[in-house]
Structure formats: C-alpha cells, structure tokens
Symmetry: C2
Subunit: 320 residues, 2 copies
C-alpha cells in the first residue's frame, strides 16, 4: 500500500482545532494567545537509534515524542496549547502510522494540546515537534532564578530510564516485572505539566531532566550564578533501582538521562507550599539538596562524605 | 576537532534577542506577540538527498532552510518574528557550521527574524525550522479565500529551480552562465516576505509555490471550493527556460517545485492595487489566469487550446 504525502496527512494528522485560530492545511497555522500571556516555545528532534530504539512500539514513540516537548513546557510553568509535527519516514506504513497517531493524540488530548501543522517526507526515521504553551507574562519559571539558600527538589523518581537502557544494552539484568516497569519509564515518560504550572510563584528556578541530573543542574547553576550541594542518597529511586549496587544507583540517578522529571529550587519558606502543590498534582517531590553561594556542584552521601562526580551530562555529540 | 552539543550551540547558534522575551538557552523561548496580533507558525523539514543535494554549499543551505519557511509566512501576509532550528548532523564540522550559520543569519537579519531555540544532535543530515510571524487578527491571507471571477497572479518567474535540478540529473544541458543563474534560483530562493504583507487587504487567497504550480494551485481551489483557468503561455519564465523546447517550459513552470514564489488571487477591481504593491516591493507579478465557479483546473495555450495536464504536484512520498 502506498500513501501520498497529502493523503497521509489527511488520514492521520488532520484534526479540527478549537483553541487555535487556524490548524493544519494552510501555509501557516494561526495562534491567538490570550491577552497578558506570553507564548512558550520548545522544539525537540528525535532520531532513531539515538533518542529511541528501533524496537519501540509506535504508540509509545508517539507518546514520547510529545511528552519530551510537554516536559519543556512544564519546566517553564506553561499551559500546553498546540504543537507542530515534522515526520521523516522510510515508508508510509499505515499500521505504524495508526499506532504512532494513537499514542501521540492520546497524550495531546489529555493536555488539550492541538496539532496545528507540520511536514512529512520520506527519509530516515526522524521526528521534530515544536510545542506552544501559554504563561502569564513575567511568570515563567526560568533556569536563571535559583538563589543561594534555596532548597533543591526533584519530582518523581530518577534513573529508571537509564536502567532500562542498560538492560537493553546487556550490561545489567533485572527481574522481568521490574524490566517492564523501567522500560515503561523509558518509553512512556509522564511530563509534569500540572506540577510546573502549580509551581509558578513558588519555585525560583526550574529545568526538566532530559540529559541527566548533574548535567541539567549544571545549566541552572551556570545561568543562576550559584553552586549547589546534592544529597546522593536522598535521590528518589524505584525499588528496581534500589536492588542494584550503589555504583549503578548513583550512575542512573545522577547521570541517567531521559527522566523527564522537574528539578526546581524554592526558598525554605515555601516548603509547605511546594508539598501542597505536589499533593494537588498527585506527584511526589523530594528535597535533594540546596543551592549554595559558592560556585560548583558538591555531591555528598548520607554521612556527608563527598562523592567523586565521575559522571557527566548525556551529550548527543559525545556519547555513542 | 570534536565539539560537544552545548559548545556547538554556544559557538554558532547563541545570539542575543531583542524582539523575543527570552531566546536560546532555557527550556522554552518566550514570545510576546503585540496586542491584536495573531501568531503565524510554519514548520519545514529538509532531508539531505531529498530536499537538497549533498553538493550544496553550507551557506546556501543555511539560507534556503530559512527561506522556505519565510516563504510560508509571506503566503500568509505575516511579518517574520522568530524561528527555532533543529539540526541533526553526521558530525560537528566547524567549517560547515560556520558557513551554514553565515547563510542562515544573513537572511534572518535581513528580515529581523531571531533564532530563539532549537535542538542539535548527531544523526543523518536533517534540518527542521519552525518560524513565527505576526499578522493582524483576521487579516492573514488564506488558501480558502479565492472567489470566482478573481484574477490569478504569480510573483517572479517559475521553473528555474526545476531546470537546475534537471541539469544536475543530466537530463538537460544549458550554457554555463544560465546554469549559475538557475542553480542560484534552486539553492538560494528569495522569499516574497514584503509582497505578502503588501497584499493584505488586496489579495483574496494566497499560497507559496513549493511543490509546483499545478499542485499548489490545487490546494487553493480545493479549500476555496472553486476552479481555475491557467494561461500556460503567460507563465513568467527566465530567458534560460525560454531557450528550451516548449514541453520542458511547460513541465518546469507547471510542475517545477521549489519556486518559492507567491500564487495569489485578487478581484479585477484590485488590478492597480496589485501592481502598486508589487512595484513598492520591487517584485514583478504576472496575471496568469482566473478563478472560475466551475470546479477543476483548465490549462490553455495562447490560442486558447486546452493543454493536457500530465503533470502533478511534487510529492515527497511518490517521487524518487
């Protein structure tokens, strides 16, 4: 079966819009942000074999492609509004497209995020999504807002996606029930969209964890002009990860990548407000350290002993 | 020399913004459209070997990647504001990146269009740009606005990009001076940004020509619920193209692809206004037919004889 580009768009990717002024099918989509709102924009490129394995089910890939972008909106405290999808495909396979669209639109609908445009072409399997969200002017959570003395928090648990990757790579083995759970963490991350919005006015700085805690925290510290102390043994992690040697626990939590949790700072006076916001959103948040005036990142264990940070950010140009 | 992702972004793609509220370097960029403005959004994916030849100079590729997106804004009558760039590269080659960035930013600066974000990764050579423009609410030029009786116009000349492609393919030969000119048309198209804005309130419908005149006109006719008559011998074309057999002239103008000219409709009462707008923008526009109430596309030669339209839109899933 061969589908042309326009038939393909029509069949799988043309849906009416209600929030955008104009959706798929013209030269441009038209968005009309509400008065007083700024438009938050983020774009992520996903390449087969680098950002996802060729074994991933198409519905999970559809979910993940949008989830990683919604996670960027969450880190800014923005409400999702719309997205564009660019899709390069080796072939137009209806079964694959149906699965991909199902996973993509299930997550989009859950967040009221409308597909408004994009592009399709034949080529290597590559996806690019650009997402748009609204945030009240001046209220976006930024990487530059962390202040010395602030508490440091993370949502959910860390390291399961990396653990799953290591199992796929054959460097680790875990019981099969655990494998399904960590594989789901890797393939079907949950963007913390409600939490990000709930933290507006409470958190001072935020970032979403895509490249690993140490690397992403580094962006916050650099842009905020501060340092931090991390409590390695306080990092929240699943039972599956806790069953592994401590060395692996540290690697997966500190340098895991693909966590899509929120890392944020907030003044100590906001501790109750942080926990209230998290409870309202049904997401766990854990205090994992503090922001220091002294530059640099220090990592200590439960006894206060310094850990050697021989871990680094996941870098798509350095790692293999 | 090996460059990491963050160093690469920093060196070539981090520039201060003045119109956007927040540029490259956070989870999201922040745009603040002016009151009463809608945000026009378009996204284009370019894959090596399909949308550009591997022989293209990097500065020309940088130019073209943005030009094809600005052309979409032009077709809506929008003023360019900002763009995101996603770049998948086989390797981080400083010489290539420098050339690419030079071509990209020269065109961006000429239109006051700021880079506000994006993504870079290692992978096959693939580019995705998403552009943002502003248009007064309700004034965007749409594909759905053509009305029976309207004149049909096109800007510039058609077919040179296709002619150049055929020379690269070895199916045609042209004198070397001509080759440089048509090659430049293919590799360095000029988006009709000023003309698109000047046509607001004058044109009834518009589309930019990326897939070929017949195919792109088809989108307008379908969405406007009308038909059209095209005057094949009135189609504006270069001296290089006019030197070829008429069969090639028809193929290249009617189904060329990669023209990035504006095709638009306007009431007969607006003929003087159309020519005034074009003259103010320094762009030629040519009347090439008319919109009919009767559905379908008819193509006639200078004697009024019907031409068989054995040409079709360039389709990235059907053509090789």
């Amino acid at each position: 079966m061969s589908l042309g580009e326009f038939e393909l768009i029509e069949r799988y990717f043309s849906r009416p819009v209600s929030r955008a002024a104009l959706g798929v099918g013209d030269d441009c989509a038209l968005l009309a942000p509400r008065p007083g709102m700024q438009l938050a924009v983020s774009s992520d490129l996903l390449v087969e074999g680098r950002h996802f394995l060729s074994t991933v089910a198409p519905d999970r890939l559809g979910h993940k492609a949008l989830a990683v972008n919604l996670s960027d909106l969450a880190a800014c405290g923005a409400e999702p509004l719309a997205f564009t999808l660019s899709l390069s495909l080796p072939r137009a396979d209806p079964e694959w497209l149906e699965g991909f669209a199902a996973g993509l639109f299930a997550l989009a609908d859950a967040h009221g995020c409308e597909l408004v445009g994009g592009d399709t072409t034949r080529g290597p399997l590559v996806l690019n999504l650009t997402v748009f969200g609204e945030v009240p002017a001046g209220q976006a959570l930024l990487r530059s807002g962390a202040r010395a003395g602030d508490d440091l928090y993370v949502s959910g648990t860390l390291g399961d996606a990396r653990l799953a990757l290591e199992v796929f790579r054959g460097t680790l083995t875990v019981p099969s029930g655990d494998f399904e759970r960590v594989r789901t963490a890797m393939e079907r991350p949950t963007p913390r969209v409600a939490l990000g919005q709930a933290l507006r006015g409470i958190a001072t700085g935020a970032v979403d964890l895509s490249d690993g805690l140490v690397g992403d925290l580094g962006h916050v510290l650099r842009r905020s002009g501060v340092g931090a102390t991390l409590w390695a043994d306080a990092l929240p992690r699943s039972a599956a990860l806790r069953a592994l040697p401590l060395r692996w626990q540290h690697l997966c939590t500190l340098a895991g990548g693909d966590d899509y949790e929120l890392l944020f700072s907030a003044p100590a006076a906001q501790r109750a407000a942080v926990q209230d916001a998290a409870a309202r959103c049904g997401v766990g948040v854990t205090r994992i350290g503090q922001i220091d005036a002294e530059p640099g990142l220090r990592c200590v264990d439960a006894e206060g002993q310094a850990l050697d940070l021989q871990v680094r950010a996941f870098d798509h140009f350095h790692s293999s």
